[in-house]
């Protein structure tokens, strides 16, 4: 080990800690940004996999998604104007794809 | 020279003094209550547990910090070389109980606890038996609690911790026991010898207490003499008696004696010649940067080896770490290993430098005072045995770390 005097040791410790702290802040910011992007991406995927909408359009026609993603939700709009199935509880809540 | 007060009465070999004999000899416990604190202040009594803290000041602090305090009689005696608490408890248990009773009444305590080392069977039996004989309600309700057989278990905060959290681990984290201890109540942790002195001060007063003592010291002290002396054991001396006088009581000391360990493993080594004229009184010793501690005076002769003894004791102290913090557990281990290397393989400049450097680094960094005590001990050894440390031949055979080595 090279002979560092105490002062240099302490200063290098401080700067190493500062670097690590900055890394922490960068990583945190990165996670936050990735999360926002994730909401966007998952939102898109969620829209794409639900029957009746390939985009967040206000289509009221019940059509299957043409994006080719497999959808495990098999029920199509059963009421006359619904484009998406929101509730399967059958309580008769009117869901409308239209605005 | 020996002024028997605590140890006065029937021969010690007869075992625990029974209550009726105790009352016949000394009278019933006095009725003093709150005024006792002033009497203790005048007497100048200091604690005999190791810190030599003024008793009256501690009591006032406990009284100040709340009501219903807890009184803990500390008879753990974790210091391996010390025998005085065991001797006192196993022969004069009622002195200790009187002292605890007076403390409980003066401070209006809610509870009395007797904290006795689990391995001190004779003391345990004596205290349990004595407790059963007592009619006073404060003592009827007293609890007898086993102190685990570890060096640090006798420390005040460890005692409180055991009563509170069932684990006797020490700490220097606030709050201190006298502010908030058992059950959050202010707790008085007092050594059993101190309580025994209080039992007599309560009967005879402060002036009587101060009538014994030399060279400015007050009262009597129990000293354990250990090591290279013909008759090691416990003696009661006047405070201020010199080391030379005390060693004479143990049959004189080896003319080739090299050094004296004052205060046990938590104390310090002193060169024999210098030690001779030291007065065994807390204030006098403090002027030399030393402490009376638990009153152990251990002699090592030139036939013994200061380096090897230091290495052995360092290894013990390192093994007794509570492993609550890195600086103590790893620091003391590193120091003990370096000491052991010097003892086993002979002096070398690197290990010596390490000892000095790491001792400085460890001090003050622990979660409790254990590493500080060990480091003080080590630094006194490096100073007192300087010639031996720098020219030690390889002659020590390392033993497995033991516990309770006297």
């Amino acid at each position: 080990m090279t002979r560092m005097n105490h002062l240099e040791e302490v200063q290098s410790m401080i700067s190493a800690r500062g670097r690590a702290q900055r890394l922490l802040n960068t990583l945190t910011a990165g996670v936050a940004v990735a999360a926002v992007a994730g909401v966007g991406a998952f939102g898109y995927l969620s829209a794409a996999t639900l029957p009746g909408a390939t985009s967040l359009s206000t289509s009221t026609i019940s059509t299957t998604s043409s994006s080719g993603t497999t959808s495990s939700s098999s029920s199509f709009g059963l009421s006359s104007s619904s484009g998406t199935v929101r509730s399967s509880s059958g309580s008769g809540v009117a869901v409308s794809g239209g605005s | 020279m020996s002024r028997l007060r605590l140890l006065a009465g029937p021969d010690l070999s007869l075992g625990a003094e029974r209550l009726h004999a105790h009352i016949e000899r000394l009278g019933p416990p006095p009725v003093v209550r709150g005024a006792l604190i002033d009497v203790l202040e005048t007497s100048g009594l200091t604690g005999r547990g190791g810190a030599s803290f003024p008793v009256a000041r501690k009591w006032r602090s406990v009284a100040h910090h709340g009501s219903g305090p807890v009184v803990v009689a500390n008879g753990a005696e974790g210091e391996p070389q010390s025998l005085k608490d065991r001797v006192l408890m196993s022969t004069r248990p009622h002195l200790v109980l009187d002292g605890a009773l007076l403390a409980a009444r003066a401070l209006k305590a809610s509870q009395v606890v007797l904290y006795v080392g689990e391995e001190h069977r004779a003391s345990w039996a004596a205290m349990a038996g004595a407790l059963a004989q007592r009619p006073e309600p404060e003592l009827r309700r007293a609890r007898l609690v086993a102190a685990p057989h570890r060096y640090v278990a006798g420390e005040s905060s460890a005692a409180v911790h055991l009563l509170e959290a069932s684990i006797a681990s020490p700490t220097s984290k606030p709050p201190e026991p006298h502010i908030a201890g058992v059950g959050g109540a202010p707790t008085l942790v007092q050594n059993v010898e101190t309580l025994a002195h209080i039992a007599l001060i309560g009967r005879y007063g402060a002036d009587w207490f101060r009538s014994a003592g030399r060279r400015g010291g007050a009262g009597t002290v129990l000293i354990t003499i250990a090591g290279a002396v013909p008759s090691p054991g416990v003696v009661e001396i006047e405070a201020g008696t010199t080391v030379r006088e005390v060693l004479d009581m143990a049959g004189g000391s080896d003319p080739a004696a090299r050094a004296v360990l004052i205060g046990g493993y938590f104390g310090a080594w002193v060169d024999f010649t210098t030690a001779q004229d030291l007065a065994l009184d807390p204030a006098a010793l403090r002027e030399h940067g030393l402490g009376l501690g638990c009153g152990v005076v251990g002699v090592i002769s030139a036939r013994g080896c200061g380096v090897c003894e230091t290495a052995r004791i360092m290894r013990y102290l390192a093994g007794e770490s509570s492993a609550q913090c890195g600086p103590c557990f790893f620091g003391l281990r590193a120091l003990a290993d370096a000491c052991g290397r010097i003892a086993e393989k002979g002096s070398n400049a690197d290990d010596l430098a390490r000892l000095h450097r790491w001792a400085r680094d460890v001090r003050g960094r622990g979660a409790c005072r254990h590493p500080d005590g060990a480091v003080t001990f080590l630094q006194s050894a490096l100073h007192t045995f300087a010639p031996e440390f720098s020219a030690h031949p390889a002659h020590w055979r390392a033993q497995a770390p033991g516990r309770g080595v006297a």
Partner: protein, 195 residues
Amino acid sequence: MTDQLLWYTTRAAGAVSLVLLTAVVILGVLSALRFKAAGWPAFLTTGLHRNVALVTLVFLGLHIVTAVVDPFTNLGWVSAIVPFSSYYRTFWLGLGTIAAELLVAVVVTSLLRGLIGHAAWRVIHWLTYASWPIGVIHGLGTGTDAWSAWFFGVTCACVAAVGFAVVYRLVAGSRDPLAAPRASFRSEVERKSEP
């Protein structure tokens, strides 16, 4: 369109919350292993764990708010607070409420650790081992449409990651070098019954 947007957002935020929470759990598990490297001191793992936990709360909040204000779910704020009080998939949604509340309890106690003491904090923090799986089950159970491939895939990846981390932690053991001697000391100084 807004209601669809809210719906997609709530699902997306829920998925993101799951991924973030998974990261938090894994970072927590790794913290116990005291990982250290050049340029990555031990406090980084714990610091990241804490920061990502707070980010998780933000997106969890987004998930809950968008679900509740969505006019078509008619969930109402009560169901976000009182478990099993919603009309919609009562049980599965209730699980979500429970998982969220456990998480909030853990974060609040962590922030107030100085007040409640270390022992209490530790006990409550273990509730995270309940919060995460309950969250996973909530995610899979709330709505048949939750079994879409992307979400299922994400869930599987998260479960696998946590499973791996936990197994690794159990196998590697605590890297705290004081753990063994401390345990040995404590076993010796524990209060025994009077002899």
